[in-house]
């Protein structure tokens, strides 16, 4: 068999798997988003309604527009926060030695834990009556003694972001530690010889060389943040009010509470388009024209 054909044959199992598990569901969801499918009326999609579901979302549904705003706020906070948190951990642990290796291994644990378990645990930790976080924070900061951590829009969003940072930060730090350890030591040595302070070295030598890894970490985290569902479902239920109702959570509500699968698919599709757009912008920034294939 010629090499030209063999490569396609070898790719076939993976292509079939991706088609069955990603392309088909995505395509089907795309089709449904143009259809009327109310589960309370029919177990299958009924009429083709063209752009009605999308029009409804943007022109006639304040809850959808709210979820769009909430999602952007969450993405900005959690992606930015997790990368910065990860970088701080990486700067502390990017050293060679047995102790550092053990610490890096332990870092995998928060990421290995199920988000469902974390969401439920954090809800208990924040309980104003017996939550351990609440008790510690009340002791350290007495002026916060009577704060209901999930009882106001600002705090609920803050804790949603912090919970997500706790999950992702350590994992991102492992990526960044790899990046830090791969920076040629002679560049740092040269900066030191030139009399640069640690702070100056970081900004002028380390950060520029770490930028590709940071950008990839940021893109990855941004994409995952857009898809946030677990913590919203378990920690806040989208509340108080709709202040933490993200797009994925709202799509879930429309599908499984309003039984409107067509509309839920349209919302999910808007999110998918948003993700494609964001990814394109990031990669454009990351790999300016002509560098994409480098």
């Amino acid at each position: 068999m010629r090499d030209r054909h063999l490569k396609y044959l070898l790719m076939m199992p993976a292509l079939l798997l991706v088609t069955a598990t990603v392309i088909y569901p995505l395509g089907y969801a795309g089709i449904i988003s143009f259809m009327d499918w109310r589960l309370s009326r029919s177990r299958v999609p009924t009429d083709f309604v063209f752009l009605d579901n999308f029009w409804r979302a943007f022109a006639d549904d304040p809850s959808f527009l709210n979820s769009l705003g909430v999602t952007i706020t969450f993405v900005a906070g959690s992606a930015g926060g997790a990368v910065v948190f990860g970088l701080l951990i990486a700067l502390l642990l990017a050293r060679r030695g047995r102790g550092y290796s053990i610490a890096r291994t332990v870092l995998v644990l928060p990421f290995a834990m199920s988000p469902a378990l974390q969401g439920t645990s954090f809800r208990f930790f924040l309980n104003p009556e017996f939550g351990i976080f609440d008790a510690v924070l009340d002791t350290l900061f007495p002026f916060l003694a009577h704060v209901d951590w999930l009882g106001s829009a600002g705090w609920a969003m803050t804790w949603l972001i912090l919970t997500d940072m706790w999950h992702w930060g350590p994992f991102l730090s492992l990526m960044l530690i790899g990046g830090l350890l791969s920076i040629p030591s002679d560049t740092l040595e040269a900066a030191r010889v030139d009399g640069a302070s640690a702070w100056t070295s970081f900004w002028t030598v380390v950060l520029p060389q770490l930028m590709p890894v940071l950008a990839i970490a940021f893109v990855l985290k941004t994409i995952f943040s857009f898809k946030m569902f677990d913590y919203v479902y378990l920690l806040t239920g989208g509340g108080p009010g709709e202040s933490t109702s993200t797009m994925t959570y709202y799509a879930f509500r429309m599908g499984f509470s309003a039984y409107d699968m067509g509309y839920a698919s349209a919302i999910a599709f808007v999110l998918a388009l948003l993700l494609v757009g964001v990814s394109a912008v990031y990669f454009r920034l990351l790999f300016p024209k002509g560098e994409a294939g480098r």
Partner: protein
Amino acid sequence: MRTTRRTLIGTLLTGAVAAGLVCGATLANAADALPYGLKSGKPYAGTKLTYLAPVAGQYEGHEARVKEFTDLTGIEVEFEFIPFRNLLEKILAIKVGGDADPDLINYKDDWGPGLKDLFVPIDEMMGADEITLDRYYPAHQLGVTYDGMIYGLPLRGHAQLMFYRKDLLEKHGLPVPKTWDELAEVAKVIKDKEGIGIGMYYSPKAAQNVAVWMNILWSNGGELFQDGKVIFNSPEAVEALKYYVALENDLKVNSEGAKSFEQYDGSLSMGAGQSAFFMGWWWHYGSRILGKNTTLTPEQVGFAPLPAFKGDKSTTFAMSMPTAINVNSSKQEAAWEFLKWVSNPDLEKLNVTEKEKRNVIVALHKKNMMDEEVNAANQGLQMAAAGSLESSRIFPQLAVWPEVMQVLANAISDAVSNGADPKEALDAAAEQAQKLVDRG
């Protein structure tokens, strides 16, 4: 016509033999007759049924005793338990897939209108076996009836009650509150002296704040809908929400955390000795308030009907969880046999009295609710709940009710947590809900 002596004797003998045969057959049938209207002769022996139910002691009790049913009918039943939180998604997946499995499905009554074409109407089967809904309270009868057809039999159901710390009220010489104003006054005294208040909840998560607000609304003469129009932004509804919000923000009679609490947290708070009052489903009494992990004893906890807002009578809210037969099942007759058995009042009584096995308090049959043995085993809880159920109402029977309820829950939460004006919050919610209702 002349009748000879021989003819007469022959006729009498024939009659006697015939009568004997009829009596014999009747007696034989009586000996073969199975309890609960089950068909004799095991016509469905060898059939294997599957049953989807949420995780709850009630259903675990059914599973523990299902051998009796198998012995009587030869039908085997496999229980599939799923956390309640995921039950609706599972049922919707069954509906979309057109699955024949499971044969029987337990669901929440207010999901029924949106799911009813997944279920078999059982009116005729009930008629044939002379089973009626009269054995249940009106709220539970309504919960299984949509468009005049019956789609299931209630197997689990809840009344709402107010639980209070009897010992603390006695200690401070306070009466059991009968109105919301009295509750606020009594709770204020307890909070000042003991540092604990009402285990109230306002979180939109699971939308349980709607049930509390609806009790105040109904007691205030308000309604949710009228002739297909959303009217839950009426002056009565706004007044009810203002009061509900004031308990937290102005009167400050709730325990800490109420804004983010759901019902579960409220009962947990009372069980942990952090709240003096809790209003909610009666099942919390058995596991959250007096469970093995709580600090309270039955002597410390009293229960009473929910307070009235205006006047002296409260209209509380009731819910049920019926079991229905999957319309796609190929074993519907066998499934009906199981439904007859699992819904029988004797089984229910066993479930709520055998405390050494599991602490189930939920009964639905009127006769069990008033039964002395049942009440003796449960500190009289069933009798108190019966009073509440007599005047209970259920959620509106709308296909889109689950989402309308969520819209309302968000509006309530917004008013208490984010400072939204109650009138404006309800106006916006009503507009959104009307669109959902119109869309259907």
